[in-house]
Subunit: 144 residues, 2 copies
DNA sequence: AATATTTAGGACAATTTTATCCGAAATAGA
DNA sequence: TCTATTTCGGATAAAATTGTCCTAAATATT
């Protein structure tokens, strides 16, 4: 469904968000360890997410990554997916047709748009804040 | 969502099904051309689908691929996806956790199972027969 | 200013997926 | 039986994704 990069990205953001709720800035190594992701690859992804202003980074000693707690409720999973995987999941044809729409649909179009709009809706309405709190309260895990 | 191989596979099966409804057996080259897929790669996929008994093949002159018209209503898209992409789309965790379930869920689990069960349901309840007819009647296309 | 820490970013490597090529096996027709 | 046709299957190649490594840049502390 999502690329590995995107899975790592979502987990990293949720972990950083959880720590930010406790006013803790986290370092790359800690993120990688607590999300079960390869360190250097995670660095790449965090770099991208920083550039996209989804997370904030601070260099040097006592530096690391953090997310503004006020902004957190307004950041959706959809934004992370879009930043990393692009909009294929929202607009791409199930069968890979370069253009597929209601007037010239692939055979699955009708069935597919329904599922996809629900997926889109879900991703847009799920905030980082919600997921971070699930993690904080022990209701969910990031690594296994 | 699906791999390229899977997209090619679904399109190929739908095309073969449509021709089978007209009692026409189709050759590899015709399948590839009419689905906009690379010939040799399509051959690989058709080989797999033949082994899985989703389609039937005949070697030699006047040979090609076909699908039993009686069986066609009982073949779902889900079977093709499973044969080519495996069951990741049905059972894999959205964030890639090796085991993720209601008792030890990833933060997205709850939201994700809902979407996924609808996807699963859709794939299981969409038959090759239905899609082949959409194509035959000109209501849909396979290449663009 | 010097040092230690930490992110940033580019080059490179490994793996997986996608795609091609070619000869073998099967089979219909002459 | 010979030939042409067509799928089958293994080897190989190309491209994309995933992953590593190393140096530069920034910055807090001393």
């Amino acid at each position: 469904m999502f690329s590995k990069a995107c899975e790592y990205g979502i987990k990293a953001v949720v972990y950083i968000a959880k720590k930010s709720l406790d006013n803790k800035r986290v370092k790359l190594n800690e993120v990688a360890k607590n999300t079960g992701s390869p360190v250097a690859y995670t660095a790449k992804i965090l770099g991208l997410l920083t550039k996209e202003n989804i997370i904030h980074s601070v260099k040097g000693p006592y530096g690391g990554f953090e997310i503004d707690t006020n902004q957190m409720k307004n950041i959706s999973i959809s934004q992370i997916v879009y930043a990393i995987d692009g909009d294929d999941i929202y607009n791409g044809c199930a069968l890979g047709l370069s253009s597929c729409n209601a007037t010239e649909p692939c055979p699955m179009h009708e069935h597919f748009v329904k599922i996809r709009s629900e997926l889109k809706h879900m991703l847009q309405n799920t905030s980082i804040y919600e997921l971070a709190n699930k993690l904080k309260s022990g209701k969910s895990i990031l690594v296994r």
